[in-house]
Amino acid sequence: MTLVRTILGKPEGAIGLGILAILATLALLAPVLFPGDPLRIAGPALKAPFSDAAFPLGTDRLGRDVLAGIVHGARTSLFVGLAAALAALAIGLSVGLTAGFAGGLADEALMRVVDAFQIVPGFLLALAFVSVIGASVPVVVLAIALGAWADPARLTRAEVLSVRERDYVSAARVLGMHPVEIAFREILPNVLPPVLALSAIIVAAAILTEAALSFLGLGDPNVVTWGSMIAEGRNVLRSSPFLSIFPGLALVVTVVGVYLLGEGLTNALAGNDDPPCRPASPRRRRDMGDPSIRRGGEGSPLCTIENFSVTHRGQDGPALNKLDLTIRKGGRLAIIGESGSGKSTLARALAGLLPDGARAEGRISWAGGAAPLAGRDLGFVLQDPSASLNPVLTIGEQVAEGARQHLGLSWPDARSRALDMLVRVQLPEPEKLLKAYPHQLSGGQRQRVAIAAALAARPGLLIADEPTSALDMVVQAEIVTLLDELVREAGMTLIFVTHDIALAAGFADHVAIFREGRLVETGPAAAVLTAPREAYTRMLVASHRDLATPPLIGGIVP
């Protein structure tokens, strides 16, 4: 199965599966390896470990073989852990599916029961249950399940609610499929993966709960368990601590195995191969200012890109392939391409913000020598303003922090700078906004805030990576107008990444067309868009017949 292969592909999954496979084999072979009742007296009492080949781990107070006990104990631990987790998952899945699918009053009532089971400590419940019914393996299994089913029930219900309204489920409903059939055929397969990921934690908790119960003397007295062995060793803890230590180590190894397997399973189910984007090593050019970006020399090269390629970690082909491009000072360059064309990779490479593990080759040389420092020399605006602002910090702090960092301002000064910026991006009631949080703003307002934050330290270059794609048409036009004004006022260089050739046409003086990591064509916007040399550009232009319609902002269409 591919899932097993994926789990084995990562060290945690492989080690976890290995540990559990060995333990399961030992548990299954226990009657063969150590025949007879492990609770019977086998030799002299309190033999020290590693002193007698017949009893490698020694004997306890009654002369029972410790190693035999541990191997037999694995049977109880693994069986109770698995059975209790399965029972908890079965109850949790049924309750969660019913609640999520039924909705209304039934959902409300079931969830209150789930709440009740979540606020009662599961261990106390298991304790009470076992003591009331009497200790035996099935009762212990049930008791542990009783304290553990609420989490999977809540998770299942949440997952059901999230898939319930999706198109394929609605379609099944419209087609008249029976609700039970929908639940099993359409919903369960989608709900199962996150619940499976939770199951490892439930198995581990069940093993630990069983051990704690039998440690307190509430396990089945007729089987040997690690918990009861630890409790037994406690009586001679001072003289023979190993009697308690060995079974405890067996417990730790088992639970580690379950956790590792669970992590492998979670990663495999999530397809979690991409490394998290984390900051690259600190950049050392902090103090090498680059005034040349800002000052004079309109039209002279700001940045020359030669034979530049980028390959992202875990990908075969390069995202950018042998790129040659010159960016002119004071210009407005539109980088145009479909998704996967490498345009965003270029934007991030220019800003020094390539994701961790991306491999860059070739040269990017900047006028003035040092590369611009993101935030200070170049501003960067991302596509989705609702994702690019930190949800728990105030607008004021998020706009001010860049100014404080790069302009050497105190917090109060940085805040008044932030206020200026909010006025500059034409946001209403800027003073109130300083104290507001992103969720209180509309999408267009958030993008204005992001632009204000990106420009707070007065950079000479602005890179905008699809800054309007997440916004609706009217707001798009407003944001483009704003960018146009800001760039003009400050004499900034603008690099505008977009898939929208119409937008670029009304805005840029130069364009660069990208496709599949390669530069297709570049040149003055008017020339390239009216008389494209390449077939791909011609196709792009042709597919946007509305180029002839009035552009979003005042007629600079060539």
Partner: protein, 333 residues
């Protein structure tokens, strides 16, 4: 600021209202569970004092209302609860409420110290690990925390007791304070503190591992988000990106975990208190189990449910203070 206080109060009020039916369910469920017991508290009591004749048993049952029908007993119990009367413990021959409140402070002290320690240490180490996911430091901390979190609390307690109390003789192994020592004031506090080092350390170590893992996982997820990239694009210092942008957001699931774990920690106090012989709430539960003390066991479960509820309420208020989005869609903002 007044707005956020209002928001917190509104959330608290709603939670208290929502908790009433949940608490009723808890009461009924525990009552039903304990009703299924074979033999009642009177049987257990008579057994413990070496037997008694049927008239004595009958008299006791009448005195405690145990001879009535089940719905009648449930109604009796509910109406008594409404008067904050949790019944009488047969084993201790005392009111349950008094017993519980006598034992609760020790457990609360144990749990609060362990939680504070674990939360502080766990989040700090989690930030160290999550600052650079995938780095050597992260791998070491993640592996160590995985192993520590797999250790059963009662066994860790025993091992720590062997090392620090038996071998090194640094710390006392049992009790909450030295009995009949006549200490007062600071000296008594120091004595209690010394007794708490091992049990608190045991609980805190395990929960440190948990909080480390939650913090680290949260940060690893947040590094992928756009606002982490945007913070880098602003050229902020690494320290500010890690603490103010990434860790600050990863703190939210950690606070949630604080509430979720309170029930598990209360359950865990049973074994920890049993090992270190701390006369607390958890040990009372064990004593109730061995004494088959129905009223006491029911009372313990209900009080622990109320306790967990209160902790969750506090956590919700803290969460609302940390996350401005909570309750924002409410009318009347």
């Amino acid at each position: 600021m007044a707005g956020s206080v209002n928001r917190a109060l509104r959330i608290a009020g709603r939670r208290v209202l929502a908790s009433i039916p949940v608490l009723l369910i808890v009461i009924v469920l525990t009552f039903l569970l304990l009703e299924t017991a074979s033999g009642d508290a009177v049987d257990a009591y008579l057994l413990s004092i070496g037997g008694g004749d049927a008239t004595v048993a009958e008299g006791l049952r009448q005195a405690y209302g145990l001879d009535q029908s089940m719905p009648a007993r449930l109604w009796l119990y509910l109406s008594a609860l409404a008067r904050l009367d949790l019944g009488r413990s047969v084993a201790f021959d005392r009111p349950v409420l008094g017993l519980v409140f006598e034992r609760l402070p020790n457990t609360l002290l144990l749990m609060a110290s362990a939680t504070a320690l674990a939360f502080g240490l766990g989040s700090a180490l989690g930030i160290l690990a999550g600052a650079r996911p995938g780095s050597l430091r992260d791998r070491l901390l993640s592996t160590a925390s995985l192993i520590v979190y797999a250790i059963p609390g009662f066994w860790l307690g025993l091992v720590l007791a062997i090392v620090f109390a038996v071998q090194l003789r640094w710390l006392p192994t049992s009790g909450i304070e030295t009995i009949a020592s006549g200490r007062t004031g600071l000296s008594r506090a120091a004595d209690i503190a010394a007794h708490l080092v091992l049990p608190v350390g045991t609980l805190a170590l395990i929960y440190t591992a948990l909080y480390l893992r939650v913090m680290r996982a949260g940060m690893a997820g947040i590094w992928r988000l756009d606002f982490a990239l945007f913070a880098r694009a602003k050229g902020l210092s690494r320290r500010r990106i890690v603490l103010r942008h990434v860790a600050r957001n990863a703190l939210l699931p950690l606070v949630t975990m604080l509430g979720l774990q309170s029930a598990a920690m209360l359950g865990g106090s049973v074994v920890i208190e049993s090992i270190f012989a701390i006369p607390g709430f958890g040990r009372l539960a064990q004593e109730a189990v061995s004494g088959r003390d129905t009223a006491l066991l029911t009372g313990i479960i209900i009080v622990s449910a109320v306790l967990v509820m209160l902790v969750n309420l506090a956590v919700d208020i803290v969460y609302a203070a940390l996350d401005p989005r909570v309750g924002a869609s409410e009318p009347g903002r």
